[in-house]
Symmetry: C2
Subunit: 122 residues, 2 copies
């Protein structure tokens, strides 16, 4: 199995590219037991999570990852903390955010088990 | 077992109070298999973690939690994302930070398995 740092970097890059290009396609990264807490609102399961993400009130979005730290977790899982900024639509000022993912192994690949997203106001 | 939200709140309050009062006492919250990534430097095991925390270059510190989000994790573990600010020594400007904890159950209580701390620069 690949190094957890490499998995974390590859996953994060893939996730935000997919999010920024077409977030309706993110369903493949979640499962029935996945959880998302987005700005303190919680949803569970791939369909509900993708419905939440696609209903966010912006059309264009661009995530810029500033830092990424990863640790191995329970039973081959991987914990990731991302800090970064995002730009939406015509807004010129990026918003800072922090996001935690816990990836769990699933037949040679990984899916998102935990996902907590939070805007950070300085 | 208590609700994961309650555990997360109680743990976080206890942790930062202990940190701010006397961080040499934090060893009781970590175990041999615990991991800390502090500003991207990683250490493992309670003694190394507490050595890292106590060697940080400030005497006085005050954490102020702004937001706390928690989710249940694998095998009764609890994942917590904290965003907040900290003030050190005579510095007047708080520094923003984000911190992830994964708590694992251990005989009726919990210990810190994963701990990732990151300053956030806006």
């Amino acid at each position: 199995m690949a190094n957890f740092q490499d998995v974390a970097k590859q996953f994060t890059e893939f996730y935000y590219n997919q999010f920024d290009q077409d977030r309706t396609q993110l369903a493949a990264l979640y499962r029935e037991n996945s959880m998302l807490t987005f700005e303190s609102a919680s949803v569970a399961g791939a369909p509900g999570i993708v419905e939440k993400l696609t209903s966010l009130p912006f059309k264009q979005v661009k995530h810029q990852v500033a830092t990424l730290d990863a640790q191995p977790s329970v039973d081959g899982a991987i914990l990731i903390l991302v800090t970064g900024a995002l730009l939406v639509d015509e807004e010129q000022r990026p918003m800072n955010y922090s996001q935690v993912f816990q990836l769990r192994p699933d037949g040679g690949s990984y899916y998102i088990f935990n996902d907590i997203f939070k805007l950070v106001f300085g």
